[in-house]
Symmetry: D2
Subunit: 101 residues, 4 copies
């Protein structure tokens, strides 16, 4: 299980707004089995088997092209830890415990 | 006003855990005036005047060194929009409105 | 054809040096057909069919684990342009032409 | 001394080309004292004192706005090592030595 973030940006579309692309990506994410995901202000975070997450991101990367964009920049960060289970909630609570202590 | 994300990773510390560094960064963020910030599973997101945010990030980048790390990798993403106000909450709600519509 | 950059960082290995991991990744890259790649100071850049490049990156991401690391952070940037051919050399020369003009 | 990479992307400009922005950034870089820089296919890499590099990047980040863009996404990666000198050339040769050995 890995936790990944993804940011997908169309270039040259003539509009400064990208929320319609993000919304379409989240419709697709809602139909993928075996992953969890969360919208954050700068990226979408996805948790799951790394191969499934990366193939899902490849699917999301195609969204702006389907909506007419001719160039897309996608940034992916993968956090993959194998000494213990890594989850979105676990990462957050591990920091909050230290702050609350 | 810009919205930025920052991820700070010490290299060569001998421990796979980074939450103590993140917690210390959030203690520092709590004392900076004029910014908003939010912990997410892959990065901390900061909203505010870009120069203040970047100087704050430079301060956070020094945290692992203060705790003994000898190498630090920091990744920053800046989203800076000048045709209308950009906020963390505005970015999220703009997507959610499209999903709920 | 897409141009991608990848940076792979082991966390918690006890050493600040990462060049042995990068060198092993480049040995693997030398054996992949249909891609071009280039070492730069902050990332390795790979050019080729996006699916081939991403599956290659997944292979590279496993290198630190094979060498004993328990946590790996990998950052990928994808530049995918479909209105004209995108290559590493083309991107560089397009800037150099403007600078030389 | 740190080694940093920076990628600056205007959003909503109506053109898929970004090389004019990159070229203008390199004209500015040529006038900054105390840094070294290098154009790579996915980013510009800058070496120097971290505070000087970050203030230079802030200057580059304003280039697309000066050319009319209303939204700019800038991605910065900082590699900061304090156990020995870190340079662009040193990072490359350290990998090449291991590959040639």
């Amino acid at each position: 299980m890995a936790v990944c973030s993804v940011s997908i940006v169309p270039v040259g579309t003539g509009s400064t707004s990208v929320s319609a692309y993000v919304a379409r990506c989240h419709e697709i994410l809602a139909e993928v089995e075996g992953i969890k995901y969360r919208l954050t202000p700068m990226a979408t975070v996805i948790e799951g088997d790394l191969e499934i997450v990366l193939s899902t991101i490849l699917r999301l990367h195609s969204v702006p092209f389907e909506k007419g964009a001719m160039r897309v920049l996608t940034t992916i960060m993968i956090d993959d830890r194998r000494d213990r289970e890594l989850t979105m909630d676990g990462k957050i609570s591990s920091v909050e415990e230290k702050l609350g202590g």
